[in-house]
Symmetry: C2
Subunit: 388 residues, 2 copies
């Protein structure tokens, strides 16, 4: 294990009916709560009512920010900051998936900031010294934002989708009820699954490559995720599968599997560039880019990819060179994404080659563990994504 | 995943030279520090000097409690409580393995308590509302006490070895430098390894037995532990192996692999009874009792034991009944303990059958996930431990 620092202060209440712990948790915060959520689905399925009842029980004055869209945008953040400042908000409670939570995090940081949140934090990456406390009630298994210190916001005007991280942005607590994910539309469940898988791989495919606990745990999570999604696709209300998917999403980004790992995150940079031009679901973009990216760079560490093929997809090494085994693992990954119903080419989501050079130019490129890509490489990878 | 609550607030600094973070961490606490440690080994190997330098840098007034013995005793706790009360101690810094840390935890709780710490906390299990803050510099990979909320103390007069847990007893921070374990005597390394393995199994061999993330992670840890100890036995200064062992010891008890699990802990109850009569190393007692205990109860959940055999020891299911596979896994476990140099019979540590009935009578027996043992069962298990 390479050196690391670890401190994840998020308190988790997990399980069917976990919302019943919300009232008690709310007692630790002031009177004014901003309830931040997305579309109407939480109202349709009773989650809104359950949360509202707990807020009432805890005698909170509730303000609302609704209509947070997937790939949440700067406009929504400004709207939330305004509400917080006007009403002395004491806690932001995000109810939803990663979009609601990420938007809440940006609001939490922005509300305590003198300057413009987008320019100061997301563009210039200045550290913050304070933020409003946030908490979450999770309704999707995907981004891991419920237990991590970061968020991603899209500036549609500038075609920029950027991330910001700060220890001040860990949720104070998160309520994880797997039954809240039962009603998620199938395509969202699939994209969520791809997002989780992609997070794990961004961490796993990087040095330290010596035997290390983090890689072992990452493999265990990927294997269980493959099993769970297979079950949930057949039976969306399978509690065992849904609960595993929900907890794997948090485990992917709560820091544990990243300890002592350099981490990569190049696929996420490319997907962010892509979906800042075309408003495609994050998980769809990842399913398209990640296998192609890995195929492009695997020769820099074939042993790790061979290990992946064997330990995650159970591919036999028998009769294969290390190189062939490595390729077989990446092919299995792409086939798996396709099998569960995710797109694996840009063509499938209606994107042609027209703006790929422009998108590549907007991609944040950095030296990763296994490669040192140039703008030309990024363009090539995007073009390889056009078809299978 | 069954329902769970999770909140582990311990901050970790891990890696070679991690003690350099001690000074900065100490700044968050008051002037008076009780330095609690065991024998002279930390002085011999420079750990004491490194810690003292950081304490000096942070301008602390240092008081010392030295000579904490393995299986730390009530007398030492009283001594520490006295020092804390007399000198308004602001922080207890334990430097050592589980014994120093567990002793520090009991002192931290006892110093803030009106009544007698042993009777109130360990015997009557009354909850505490406050404790002195503690922090740790770890020098052994074994008990996991550096990242958990519990400790074990022995009352030699009453032949009682009892545990106490409270959220107030999580260390504020722990410094984990794998190189600090290089000089550990070989037998201590082996006992530490058995202790870690035993902790993981106490959690793993319990319901929930549906596919769940916690069991997957537990298997990953056990497999890596087997690899790491093999390497470290050949080369005690192998950083990769030592760092994995150290982090596995923390991961075993930091709560992550216990989420949604009922947990068992019956072997630990038996070992505590045993080593409250005979002052044998905790790890030695566990190596003797654990495989015998598992063989005694496995028929209540053969599928789980068959899974263990395949996933942890890589035993092929081919041509075996589930029952035979389950037994083969437990046999492999016992053979592994023997192979690394741990005793696997009471005879090997000089214990005969004379006091086994008395020890069984002192064992804290409870209904576990897989079994509902009686005093007669406990006696039988102890007797089965006499020889291979």
């Amino acid at each position: 294990m390479d050196s690391f620092h670890f401190h994840n202060p998020v308190k988790i209440h997990f399980g069917k009916g976990a919302v019943s712990h919300l009232g008690a948790e709310l007692k630790g915060f002031g009177k004014n709560v901003l309830l931040a959520y997305g579309q109407n689905s939480i109202k349709k399925y009773g989650i809104y009512d359950a949360v509202a009842a707990e807020l009432k029980k805890a005698k909170k004055r509730v303000f609302e920010l609704s209509g947070i869209m997937p790939n949440p945008r700067t406009e929504k953040v400004y709207e939330g900051i305004e509400i917080c400042r006007k009403n002395n908000i004491d806690l932001i409670l995000a109810v939803g998936g990663g979009s609601a939570i990420d938007c809440a995090k940006a609001i939490a940081a922005g509300a305590k900031l003198k300057g413009d949140f987008w320019k100061t934090l997301f563009v210039n990456q200045k550290p913050i010294t304070d933020a409003l406390p946030i908490a979450t009630v999770l309704t999707m298994a995907a981004t891991g934002s419920e237990m991590d210190p970061g968020g991603v916001i899209t500036n549609w005007k500038d075609n920029l989708k950027l991330a910001y991280l700060s220890d001040h942005l860990y949720p104070k607590f998160s309520i994880l009820d797997p039954t809240y994910t039962y009603t998620m539309p199938k395509h969202q469940m699939i994209y969520g699954c791809v997002d989780i898988f992609s997070h794990i791989m961004e961490i796993y495919f990087s040095v330290d490559d010596n035997p290390n606990v983090s890689d072992d745990l990452a493999e265990a999570l990927m294997k269980e995720l493959i099993e769970s999604i297979n079950v949930a696709l057949k039976n969306p209300t399978d509690y065992v599968a849904r609960s595993n998917m929900m907890w794997i999403s948090s485990m992917a980004l709560n820091g544990i599997i990243g300890l002592g790992k350099r981490q990569d995150w190049m696929t996420h940079q490319m997907e962010h560039a892509l979906s800042a031009f075309y408003d495609i679901p994050h998980g769809a973009g990842l399913a398209i880019v990640h296998p192609v990216y890995l195929k492009y760079i695997y020769k820099n560490s074939p042993a790790k990819f061979a290990r992946f093929a064997q330990n995650v997809f159970g591919i036999s090494a028998k009769g294969k060179t290390k190189d062939a085994l490595a390729r077989a693992g990446i092919d299995a990954l792409r086939a798996y994404f396709r099998k569960i119903g995710a797109p694996v080419t840009l063509g499938e989501v209606g994107i042609g080659k027209e703006r790929l050079a422009e998108i590549a130019a907007k991609t944040n490129i950095f030296k990763t563990s296994y490669s040192n890509l140039t703008l030309k490489d990024i363009e090539k990878i995007f073009n390889l994504c056009l078809k299978y």
